[in-house]
Symmetry: C2
Subunit: 204 residues, 2 copies
């Protein structure tokens, strides 16, 4: 979570708790995110190239790549802000998403909420997951979702909680959700109900 893109070397948390980011760099980062958001909204994610973003932001391509690593990093950075709400709800929000409900209830609530999040930003999430193979696992936020699921599954005293956390998240990939919604024509509500039942099964 946190970092607004960038691979390994940590950089400013989103709020700007600057460890040492040059002013021009911060300005460019903001320009790029704003331009990307606008272009994606206007033309659709797939129709926008990295050159487009760079040009619209009035920035060189190198800058773009230095900041965000690759296209999926840019998508992750844009999603970062939107994930914040969900993440906060999990950690400190009211039940059933936050602490206070049973592990079973919390996991079902998480799965439903995560499904909604993915469905609500399909293209962006898809991009962040599929731009490069294995990108999905490497996002900071993925680690958080994963840990949350693992934790709740372990509380439920299920075998292989870690692996089942991966299974649950693998089931809710952007491409999988897209397939259910678009190719299979399922309604989001039906999916949500089915996913809740699935969680129930996973918890034995």
């Amino acid at each position: 979570m946190a970092g607004t893109g960038v691979d390994r070397r940590e950089l400013p948390l989103i709020s700007g708790g600057t460890v040492h980011e040059r002013a021009d760099a911060a300005r460019n980062r903001r320009k790029v995110l704003a331009a990307a958001e606008r272009l994606f909204a206007q033309r659709g994610v797939t129709a926008v190239t990295m050159d487009d973003v760079a040009a619209a932001a009035g920035v060189g391509k190198g800058t773009l790549y230095r900041r965000f690593g690759d296209k999926s990093g840019l998508a992750a950075a844009l999603l970062d802000e939107r994930e914040r709400d969900l993440q906060a709800s999990l950690l400190t929000g009211p039940p059933p998403l936050g602490p206070g409900a049973t592990a079973r209830e919390r996991l079902a609530a998480f799965a439903a909420a995560y499904l909604g999040y993915v469905a609500g930003h399909l293209d962006l999430v898809s991009l962040s997951q599929t731009a490069s193979p294995g990108a999905r696992m490497r996002t900071g936020s993925h680690r958080l979702w994963r840990q949350h699921c693992r934790h709740l599954l372990a509380e439920g005293d299920v075998p292989d909680p870690e692996l089942r956390a991966d299974v649950l998240l693998a089931a809710l990939t952007a491409e999988q959700v897209r397939h259910w919604l678009a190719d299979r024509g399922h309604a989001l509500g039906d999916l949500e109900a089915a996913v809740r039942r699935l969680v129930d099964s996973l918890l034995g």
Copy 2:
């Protein structure tokens, strides 16, 4: 299953039950598959470009793409033959893979066998699944695996058999399996056992 690549218009089954394939076309198809197999074995899948394959096969790039659609199609064609064994076992082989065992036993056996198949051809399967987004769902063989799972799950009287079939296959994506094996350092045997337990949960 069946088609040796090619997008929509069906073409010769692998054995060559020619619906109408020109002799030179068949020859080129074989040359390409042979060259691709050799190059992939020699240099590793990711280090081989489509130009390499075309050149090694003594064929133009256009021919390559006409035959196999895209890189993932080429991978699928190469896997085709290796899938055949597993597919035959499911349909007509001895239990527990084939008919004769309980749905639960058969599904556990399938999951374990499929895991082994994916792990045994990680790079190729990965390529066939990730070359283009959504490629995974569109393979002929995927439909077969899916239907098989759906069928067994339905026999087990589980809710949402179709969706759970997708979940099971989503859990056994090449990238996911690679992550478990390489990044997480799990042993294939442990994974197999865990996947069997997972199937048990899925069947209530």
